[in-house]
Subunit: 331 residues, 2 copies
């Protein structure tokens, strides 16, 4: 019998996520039942959605993490012991293992990682970010070649894929990000047609300049001042996909949204969505995104933290915007 | 050769609609060309959408009325002279004749009024209000029996039909209106399950009390404080149909809308629409609404003004909410 560590949610955040929300605990391993297998996690994903999972808000799309439970997260792991023929020892698997070094599973919600892909590519592209980007853009916004897409949080894990998939689909793509370095990356490395630095640019003037034919699709990841500017520049029959509001998650008083007169006049649709509602689509989406990835159309950056405990402070990088790419903890 | 009067738009409104926006002009009649017919208008409809038609806003769903043109309106008329076999003398017709006593048409966009219906029922139910209500509720919100509908502007021409059609479809219906008299009418005469007086009730408390199972569909006609309360009470996967924002049309500074965090968390859809985009659906919608009307399921009230010139001040009744039913000018 050996032991491993995991991090448990012991207190819900009020506004910001404090270290006191978590507790590092030591566990002993137990024998596997029939059909179970044990994994050693190698990489775990830190995502903005975690802020919602930590709060007690019952309106949210999946139940909150119960106090005392291991903090929820998706990750890549290696099977190290198995009573399940579908998940043999040595297999590389992907699943919601949580903030933990080891986990036991019966295979529910666990998938074998496609061979030949580095764990970082799987978490940064094929997992939640890629499926979210593809579902929101392709299935909800239904883009047409020649249309203009504006995406906020464009240097983030979802936003950078939304923009690249849209480019592959023949759209004009303008991204919104929070530093000149990120903006350069979007345009010079990812092939975006333009980028707005929401911290230093005159947002309204810059968006108007970069979208001379207006905006057909706005993919919302952040909220903040860009939201009203996006609505102001939408074309008739424009589609707004609301995937995230990261700028507001930590606010006690949510900021105001756009007035709905434009919604009538321009016949806009505003559709909120979260990926877990569409997990039945995951196999098709993964294939679609995998195709783009293998065709070299999707670049990604990872920001790797080291060791389980680094997640505790590291998660806040997502909300300050300081992460440089998909945030991953390497175990 | 005889003469008739019409009212022309000569100045666009800044905020409120002033009498100086209009000019009453006298015209001489001219001989008809082949295929044309002349109508004498008997009833014309005053609708909130007119505020948009008067402004120069090119974002709007149909072009503004040009300065100098007859003010746009739909109405019921009698054919008094005809070179068109489809529209013989004596026929009762419906069309966009404008603020005028007489008009000449080649039949484009003009329909014969179904026999046996009073002109007031046609304008109050079968024309724009009924088609708007049916399109927005049935085609966009896609209601299911047992769901809860909240409708603002519920005593208005569109709102009262939305609520009654929803009742006929088996929904629980709560209306929002601006007087106790209107609220009583909704509940006692139209069969709504409850009503909120937005001027005197604690809106949040009253909506919560009247929608114990939450709100599945919010049909927005007004904007104002009810909007945020509606969003706060929406169920997951709720549909919001934005048909009008009458409370804001005359405001220089549009009021703030709801924050979009709820849009993500509850996966709401917010869809703006205007009936003119869906005129291809008019025959089916008219049949559908006509069926409800003939089955005695749709009651209506009309507020009749007398004489062409009464439209000039009368239109403002729509924005002050002082009209008691569908606003119609009898010529």
């Amino acid at each position: 019998m050996s032991s491993y560590q995991s991090i448990h949610l012991v207190q819900r955040p009020l506004t910001h996520i404090e270290a006191s929300c978590f507790e590092l605990r030591e566990h002993s391993t137990h024998a596997l039942a029939e059909g179970q297998f044990r994994v050693k996690q190698t990489h775990m994903s830190l995502d903005p959605a975690m802020r919602g999972w930590m709060s007690a808000d019952t309106d949210s799309y999946i139940p909150p993490v119960a106090l005392g439970d291991v903090m929820r997260a998706s990750g890549i792991a290696e099977v190290i012991e198995s009573n399940n023929a579908n998940f043999p020892v040595g297999a590389s698997v992907m699943g919601m293992f949580g903030w933990t070094e080891q986990a036991v599973s019966d295979g529910t919600g666990v998938n074998i990682v496609p061979p030949g892909l580095p764990a970082e590519a799987v978490l940064a592209v094929l997992a939640l970010p890629g499926m979210t980007a593809a579902q929101g853009l392709l299935e909800i916004a239904k883009p047409k070649a020649g249309e203009t897409l504006l995406v906020s949080g464009a240097a983030g894990s979802v936003g950078s894929l939304v923009g690249q998939i849209a480019k592959a689909e023949g759209l004009r793509v303008i991204g919104v990000a929070g530093s000149d370095e990120k903006c350069r990356w979007l345009v010079e490395e990812l092939g975006f047609d333009g980028a707005v630095n929401y911290k230093t640019d005159d947002i309204a003037a810059r968006v108007a300049e970069l979208t001379p034919d207006g905006v057909d699709i706005y993919f919302e990841n952040t909220g903040g001042a860009i939201q009203q500017v996006a609505v102001d520049n939408m074309n008739a029959f424009g589609r707004i996909v609301v995937c995230g509001m990261i700028a507001d998650y930590n606010n006690e008083t949510p900021s105001a949204g756009p007035n709905w007169i434009s919604v009538v006049k321009k016949r806009l649709s505003i559709q909120g969505f979260t990926m877990p509602d569409h997990f039945d689509r995951a196999p098709q989406l993964m294939q679609q995104v995998g195709g783009y990835l293998q065709a070299g159309k999707l670049q990604y950056r990872v920001h790797v933290l080291d060791g389980l405990a680094s997640a505790i402070d590291g998660i806040n990088l997502l909300f300050s915007g300081e992460n440089q790419g998909k945030l991953i903890v390497k175990l």
